[in-house]
């Protein structure tokens, strides 16, 4: 059951809610395998993709997900939007809201931007990445990938390696994985693994080989070159010597380890090509699962907003109360959490 109005992050989302989203996503996978990859579920609904940061994978994935549910999609990027003319995020959001979209998917360089939007518009907001804060659908697709390969998430040891400091993927995964009962190790140089992460339940390890020992899952993070200017390590060369996921490093993990990467990959920097294309890699599964997870999120947040009487009486007695009640009762995550995570 997922009763929230928005999907802003995985912090505070319960195991039941996550399981519900993953189970739904599992069923949506089948739609993408059909010859006609479309169901009429969200016919007549409009989904706005509002991207203030460049993105290929996530934006395409959301757009395909919406289209496979028959929703109309509109893509707005920062360069083409009135943000480049000086409009504030709130004003942009209000104007969009006045055009009555049924959901807004937003990516923004500032943590908390989706939460701000959620307070100013009356349609569901899906966070597609806010600064270094959260990226919930990425974590959900990672969880789905892990679950389908390992059967369950509880009890697994997951090593997340690389630039944890700047990674919203790592934060969302940390919340999701901990909630689902996995052990999470953050592995990287001390400059990129601040000690505060320990308070959120991660084990912090600086040595790659040590961090990978007996891991069931290795999740590599991209070294965000655009954020590195010699402050966090002396050179890419040095970083890759110490932290590049090589065949030798993988050997430290369990024999049935799976390797994830949210993309885009820097081959030869954080992951060797041999490993990226090797048998343990489930990176392409992640991309496939991404569409299913986003279909589930859109279905859950957008699909159930309409309140027409059910035909076979299964729900009719409860219809009247739910539509309005949900709207009023669902609260956005408080913004201070976003600030705290930065």
């Amino acid at each position: 059951m997922f009763e929230r109005r928005h999907l802003l992050g995985l912090e505070g989302v319960s195991a039941e809610e996550i399981t519900f989203l993953l189970d739904s996503a599992e069923s949506f996978k089948e739609v993408s395998e059909r010859e006609i990859k479309k169901v009429p579920t969200l016919r007549g609904r409009t989904v706005v993709n509002l991207f203030y940061e460049s993105s290929t994978r996530t934006r395409t994935s959301f757009e395909i997900a919406a289209k496979r549910l028959s929703a109309d999609t509109i893509n707005l990027s920062a360069s083409a939007s009135s943000a480049s003319k000086g409009e504030t995020l709130t004003d942009t959001a209000r104007n969009l809201a006045a055009m009555r979209p049924d959901a807004i998917v937003v990516r923004h360089p500032s943590a908390g931007a989706p939460h701000l939007l959620a307070r100013h518009v009356d349609c569901p907001i899906i966070n597609a990445g806010d600064g270094a804060h959260e990226h919930p659908t990425q974590a959900l697709l990672d969880l789905l990938t892990i679950r389908s390969h390992k059967g369950q998430i509880a009890g697994l040891t997951v090593a997340i390696v690389g630039d944890l400091l700047h990674s919203r993927v790592a934060r969302s995964n940390l919340f999701g994985l901990r909630t689902m009962g996995a052990r999470v190790r953050f592995v990287g140089p001390p400059t990129l693994v601040p000690p505060q992460f320990a308070d959120l339940g991660a084990e912090l390890v600086n040595d790659l080989h040590e961090g990978l020992r007996d891991a069931d899952v290795i999740m590599m993070l991209r070294i965000q070159r655009e954020r590195m200017n010699g402050r966090y390590f002396s050179s890419l060369d040095e970083y890759s010597r110490l932290y590049c996921l090589s065949v030798d490093a993988v050997a430290k993990a369990r024999r049935d380890v799976i390797i994830l990467h949210p993309g885009p990959m820097n081959r030869g920097v954080e992951i060797s090509s041999t490993v990226a294309d090797g048998p343990y890699s489930v990176i392409m599964d992640q991309v496939t699962n991404g569409v299913a997870v986003r279909m589930a999120a859109l279905y859950v947040l957008v699909g159930r907003r309409r309140g027409i009487e059910a035909d076979d009486g299964e729900h009719s007695t409860r219809d009247a109360g739910t539509a309005g009640g949900r709207t009023a009762g669902a609260a956005a995550l408080p913004l201070r959490r976003a600030a705290a995570a930065e």
């Binding site: 997922f2 519900f20 006609i36 035909d311 009486g313 409860r318 739910t322």
Partner: protein
């Protein structure tokens, strides 16, 4: 504390033996009408239609040498009333591991009521291909159609009031084979509403 007279009386209209006989008869009718089972496929609508479909497949197997291919469909995504997560729970999988093109499809559901579920199922089926024909088998037809849809095979015709609930329970999901009519909730004495936990698994 339990108030005894608060439980509205439910009326069993089909017991386990009745359900079994109905399915056996439908199997015979299907084979007779289609002059065998060439190019026949069975698809059940989740949840419960799929179990009935599997049983029909078994009944037909007793009459014919070949096995009729089986599939199951979740039609939630095709409904005209997609709403609230409340009871819609998780979307279940659709599995039709064979080509529907050119086949005669026997669509199976537990209760035929307004016809909207079947409308959705027809739409869903068309997205999988172009069947030669579609026939409909239901365990119970309770009337009150809102769309021009009829069943080809009916286990039991059950005249009901619109406000009554028809409850189908099956071994696979509920541990017992039984069809019962439940009176409308308002017919119960004041203050006697069933607690949520006591709500039957499915009312149709």
């Amino acid at each position: 504390m339990r108030v005894l007279q608060s439980d509205p009386p439910s009326r069993v209209v089909l017991d386990a033996a009745g359900v079994g006989r109905a399915l056996a008869r439908i199997a015979h009718e299907v084979v007779e009408r289609n002059k065998g089972i060439v190019d026949l496929g069975i698809i059940g609508i989740r949840s419960r239609g799929d179990h009935l479909a599997l049983r029909l497949q078994g009944e037909i197997r007793k009459l014919e040498v070949e096995e009729v291919p089986f599939g199951a469909m979740d039609i939630t995504l095709y409904r005209d009333d997609i709403t609230r997560g409340a009871d819609h729970a998780v979307i279940k999988s659709t599995e039709i591991p064979w080509v529907v093109d050119g086949k005669t499809i026997l669509l199976v559901d537990d209760v035929l009521f307004t016809g909207r579920t079947i409308r959705a199922a027809l739409d869903a089926l068309m997205d999988f291909g172009r069947p030669r024909a579609i026939q409909l088998a239901v365990l119970v037809d309770r009337g009150h159609r809102e769309l021009p849809i009829r069943a080809d095979y009916v286990g039991k015709n059950l005249p009901t009031q619109h406000s009554e609930k028809v409850q189908v329970r099956l071994r696979e999901t509920d541990g017992i084979d039984e069809v019962a009519i439940l009176p409308p909730p308002s017919a119960a004495p004041a203050g006697a509403a069933l607690p949520p936990a006591a709500r039957p698994a499915r009312r149709a």
